[in-house]
Every structure is written in structure tokens, then in C-alpha cells.
């Protein structure tokens, strides 16, 4: 399946086809600084299509040294003080389960660290270089709760661990559904 990288292909070195979301090791370049700023926190209103930026993989995800460094940073930057040394939550949320208020894909986790979040999560974007944040993300990806980069939509729709899927809506229903482009009022 082709990658959906329109508009981002020139800035996102990590933009990859869907079927190739596994990390490629330390040699891969980090996504360009600021490139994830287009990532929305909510689902997209109207008929807008999924942005490719959701599917950025963590270039350090399979790098053992990066994961170890991420773990070290998790303690040294006082992340553990809030989220727990086991990352199972305390002052801050559990980071090992599948419940992600602000998204559990690598890029969403990156943004939560970079931008901070409203209930006390500081914004680390000016305190930590991008590489450090990706290392922390790499460590968190080893804890079992993170959503794969190419499962952004599934994560948003609660499709973790589903065992079957209801039949698709009848074609007639789909055909009848209006899909007007969004217009300013």
C-alpha cells in the first residue's frame, strides 16, 4: 500500500508505507524538528482525510541503546516521579496500558512530551533535544501499551484487542450518506 505523504514527504524522512512501519535502526534520520506540529489531537471534523503525519514511525524504536537511554532519561528527567518507576501511573497516567487520552502512536506520544498536556504534563520541547524525546518514546514503546504507527485510526476507534468486526454497513446506506465538503459558515 502506498504511503500517504502528500504535503509532508519533503519534510518527513520517516514517512513510510503502511506495511513497513517497523523501525529501521539507528541509521534512520529523525523527523524534522517541528514536523509533527500538524498532528491533530482530536479526530478530524468533516470529510478531511487522515494526515500522514500520524503514521510517523519512531526511527529509534528498535535501537537497544536508544531504549536504554530513554529509560535513563525517564528517571533522570523526573518522568518516573509522576508516572511511576514502573510507568504504571501515579500523579500522571499509566503509560503501559492501551488507554491513551492524547493518542498512543509514537508521534502522538512524542507530541505529548514535546508540547506538554493540560493537566500538569510539562512541555519538554525546549528542555530536551528531539533525539532525547524519541529515545523516551522508544523506551515507552517497549512497555506494551503503545499503539503502532500504522494503527492510528484503530487506536482512535478503540480497536485494540478486538476479536471480530461487525459487518460493513449496507452499500445503500453508504451511498445515501451525504458528504458535503466543509464550508465556513
Amino acid at each position: 500500500m502506498a504511503a500517504i505523504c502528500v504535503g509532508f514527504a519533503t519534510t518527513l524522512s520517516a514517512c513510510k508505507p503502511h506495511n513497513d512501519s517497523t523501525a529501521q535502526g539507528a541509521s534512520r534520520a529523525l523527523p524534522a524538528e517541528g514536523s509533527l506540529s500538524a498532528l491533530p489531537l482530536g479526530d478530524l471534523a468533516g470529510t478531511a482525510k487522515l494526515l500522514a503525519v500520524n503514521e510517523v514511525v519512531n526511527p529509534l524504536a528498535d535501537n537497544a541503546g536508544a531504549i536504554e537511554e530513554g529509560h535513563r532519561l525517564f528517571i533522570a528527567m523526573n518522568c518516573a516521579g509522576c508516572h511511576g518507576y514502573d510507568a504504571k501511573g501515579n500523579m500522571g497516567p499509566n503509560l503501559t496500558d492501551a488507554y491513551w487520552r492524547y493518542g498512543g502512536t509514537p508521534s502522538a506520544i512524542y507530541n505529548s512530551i514535546y508540547e506538554g498536556r493540560p493537566q500538569g504534563m510539562p512541555a519538554w520541547g525546549r528542555a530536551l533535544p528531539a533525539k532525547d524525546i524519541w529515545e523516551i518514546v522508544a523506551y515507552l514503546q517497549t512497555l506494551g501499551g503503545a499503539v503502532a504507527a500504522n494503527e492510528y485510526q484503530a487506536g482512535m476507534q478503540g480497536d485494540h484487542g478486538i476479536t471480530s468486526t461487525a459487518p460493513q454497513a449496507p452499500g445503500l446506506l453508504n451511498a445515501a450518506a451525504p458528504s458535503p465538503p466543509l464550508q465556513p459558515p
Binding site: 533522570a76 528527567m77 523526573n78 501515579n90 500523579m91 493540560p118 493537566q119 500538569g120 504534563m121 528542555a127
Partner: protein
Amino acid sequence: MRAASRLVLLPGSFGVAALLLGLATTPLAAAQNDSAASADFSPHDPPGEWRMQARDFAATRYSPLDQITVDNVKRLRVAWTFSDGVAYGHEGAPLVVGSMMYVVAPFPDVAYALDLSKPGSPIKWTFAPDPAPLAVGKACCDAVIRGWAYARGKLIYNLLDDHTVAVDVQSGKQVWRTKMGNVENGETMTMSPFVVGDKVFVGNSGGELGKIGWLAALDVETGKELWRAYSTGPDELVKIGADFKPYYAWMQGKDLGVTSWPANMWKTGGGAVWGWISFDPQLNLLYYGTSNPSPRVPVQRPGLNFWTSSVFARDPNTGAAKWAYSFTPHDQWDYDGVNENVLLDLRIGGRTRKVLVQFNRNAYAYTIDRETGEVLVAAPFANENWSSGFDMKSGRAIVRPDKEPKPNVKLDDVCPPDIGGKDWQPSAFSPKTGLLYAGIFNICMDVTDHRQSYIAGTPYDGMEITRQAGPGDHWGEFIAWDPATGTKVWSIKEKSMTMSGALATAGDLVFYGTVDGWFRAVNDRTGKVQWSQKLGSGINAAPMTYLGPDGRQYVAIYAGVGGAAMVAKAMPGFPPRGSTLYVFSLDGDSVASGLEMPQ
């Protein structure tokens, strides 16, 4: 006298009854003591009311109401309930003034006035202060509120986002709101304000985030700050002057709040004031404790770390310190000193001593001369192994070197754990028995320290901890304690944590709750459980009792587990969050109960 003779009233006369009760401020008749222990129950509020968190300045949580007794308590049933819908820890007790009840929910700290004279106690007004959401993630131990105060027609409480607010109890409108600090840097407020005369005293939370602790006095009418005394730093900031006379030589000296720390570390040294305040009107002294030092990793802060994990006696007018006592100098285990100080008069060594009693987190119960700061009795009330005994001459527990944490080394089986042999959950005192009653812990920890960097607005903590039950495999216990001798008189083992406040009544009962949701009434002399009721969530709050406008005695308790009880959240069967205030009466009777369509 019987303080709570039942009034028989016709419907429609509730307002009049409330007025009469409000005026019936007969001083408390001396209880029929068969013990030498007693307390000053100032300010002698009307017997049926509950106007401050511990009911009196001495922090006894004793009510003279006696309709509900050891004999009839088995008839206790739910009369009505109220849910505020907030899923954080509920730690305070409702206040009752006249025919109104005041409660404040945890974050976002919405206050409610409930009209006790009407069927179902409907809401008279709601006040939503809209504190900053940021505060939730800056509060170390859940977005709790530990209590609220009533004074001069105002409900006064602290917002989690580091503000104190006063609400007019007639209109439910804000009278003033004072910013006490910057929540972005990790300072929050969770403690109950405490009012004496025209001043309200408030303190901060944030000892886990490197915030320097303080107690401040605000003007009740305007919210203007009158003084602020810090817990660390030079004497000027700590309000230590010529009047300051600590009892022990090792606590005497200039600027100990600076010199007992590595350079400048007092500025991020903790000593937060998030617990209880009590007051002796005769001595005109306030008493309160300070939290752990920051960071919690002791190797980073060599020295005695004054005045953290300590108790202060201060002049409420000026803030000047009269004495202080450090329970756990150089506290290595997070043994905050913030627990309630119950002010009693005890016969010790053949003479009556004015004392304060604190069940400290370090598992020692201290009976301290509250005029001088001399330790009269110090004895473990809960399982502990951090000390090898207590040196009465120096007033210090003797630390076991093998229980001192070292960075990056896992140290097994330290008792009690960070949350102590007892946390902030307040005890109660009955003048009828001379005993104190407290929910305590039987927990130990394995701890690994990690060196910390100070990053404003993040934890300055460093203790990686797992906790388990101590000997006997039960996490909780409810005890009766003789503060004159330092001995346990009876105890009830509880498999879950006992982390609720206690209530003692003239009906020879004490009440407490458990983290697995049981609310119990116990014979205050024998420790026999007389009544138990399972509630919808775990109990962290403090029970209280009041006389309704209908003349009935009620007992009220919030069930909403949270706060430090969440350390046990991984235990099988740990209860879900809750937000319900349960109000009990004999047979569940209440205003207009039984009417088909009460209005």
C-alpha cells in the same frame, strides 16, 4: 447533662428549631471522666454542630451527642445520601452550622450548601471556583481536598491550584480569592484552612516537588495575607526570633534552616504544610507539622534539614515561633510530620501536663509538653524497624544504619513505608475514656533511591518503592491508645488500609472506615465492633456527627477512595472511586422520611 435531648417538632417548625439550636450555645458540660485525661473543647460550639474539621481547636473530633449509643447503634441506617460526582479522593468532613451542611468536593473544588431542614437535604447553592486544570498533575497524591472551614458567615477553603477562597454562606457568592503561589512550579494546596478569630491559617503542598513549605495567616474578611512563616531558610523567613526556645540543644542555634543543608538546598527543601493545625487559646499558640525534606533522597542533602518533618508552635498574631521539634531529622524515608496534634491535659509523673499528641508517620506516638517542646512519652504505635529505640535524653529515635537508603541499591523491608505507620488521617479523643483512637498502617517497603535533579514543576522525589503488608499480613488496624503511658489498649486488625479519620462520641462509640469500604462503630472501651456498613467506595474521609433541625442525631461520612490509599490500588478487589456522602440515623429516619411525596 445530656447534650442532645431529642426535640419533638411538627413539620413547619424546622426553621424555628434551627434558630433555637443555633442559640443554644451552652458550654459543654464536663463529661463523666473516669480518666485523668481531658481536653479544652474551645470554642465550645453548639453541641449539635460541627463547625471545623476536628470540631474544636484541640483537634479532638469528640462530639457530646449521645442519642446514638453502644446499645442502639445496630439500628443505624442510611437516612439520605449526596453524590458530588468527583472521582478523586474525598478526605474532609462535612460542616454543619445551624440547619445547613457545607461540603466541598475534590478538584475542581465545587462547594455545596445543603439545607438539612428540608426532605432529602436539597442543594441551596453551588459554588464552582474553576481552578486551573494544570493543578491536577502537580498534586503529588491525588487531586484531593482535606477539609474546609467556616468562619463569620463564610466558607473558606483552598483550591488545588494554590489559591484560598471565601464564599458567603448565605448567597454562595465568592467574597475573596487570594493567590498564594504559582501552581506551575508544583505548589498546590490540599489542607484544611483553620480559623482563629479574624485570621485563617493556610499552608501548602508540594514537598514532593521541591517546594519550600510555609504557613500563612490571612484576614478572614478580606483574604489579605498578614504573615507567612517558611519551614526552611534563615531565621527571618522561618520567623524565628528571641522568643524561640526549642527544648533540645541540638535544635538550638542561628539559621539552622540554612546551615543544616548543603548550600542553597533549603530553597527547594520541602517542609510543606499540608496537614492539620490545632490551637491552644490559653497559651495562645498554634501547632502544626511540616512535611518531608526534598529531594527525598537523603544522600543529596547531608545535614539535619531543619525544619522539615517537624512540629512548630507559633504565635497566631505574629507567626513568631515559640518552639519547634524535629521528629525525624534528616528524614530518609518520607516520614512527614504533618499529622494532627491533639491537645490534651494528662496526668504524667504525678502532675498534670499540657501536651500535644502526634501519631507520627515514623510510627512513634509522641506525647510532647506543648509549652516547651519536651518529649514526655515516645513509643511505637505501629510496626517499625528504622530505629533501634528512643533516646529520651536527646529526644531522638536511634536510627538503624542498615535501614538507611543508598542510591541505586534496593533496600528491602523498611517499616513503616513512605506513607508511614499512620498518615494524615486524623485520630479522635474521648474524655470519657481518656484514650485516643486512630486508624493506622501495618505496611513495609522495599526502596531504591535515585538521585534527583531539580526541575521546577516536576517531582523532586527519587524513591522507587514497592509496599507490602507487615507481620500478620493485614494492611490496617484501628487502635485505642493511652497517650499518658504510650500503650495500645485495644486494636482491631483490618485486612485493608485503615485510612479514614476517627470520630468519638458521648454515646461511648468511636467510628472509622476502611479502604475496602467498611464503615464501623466500635465500643470505645472494649474495641468490640457494634455495627458495620459496607459503602460504595473506600473510605478516606473523616466521619462527623450532628443534630439535625429535627432533633435527631446523624452520622455522616464520605466514601470516595483516593489519595495515598491508591498505593494499594493493585490489590485484588480494590474498590472503585466514589463520591457519595452517606448520612446515617437510627432506623434511617430523617426530615419527612416516610412521606409519599416529600417536597
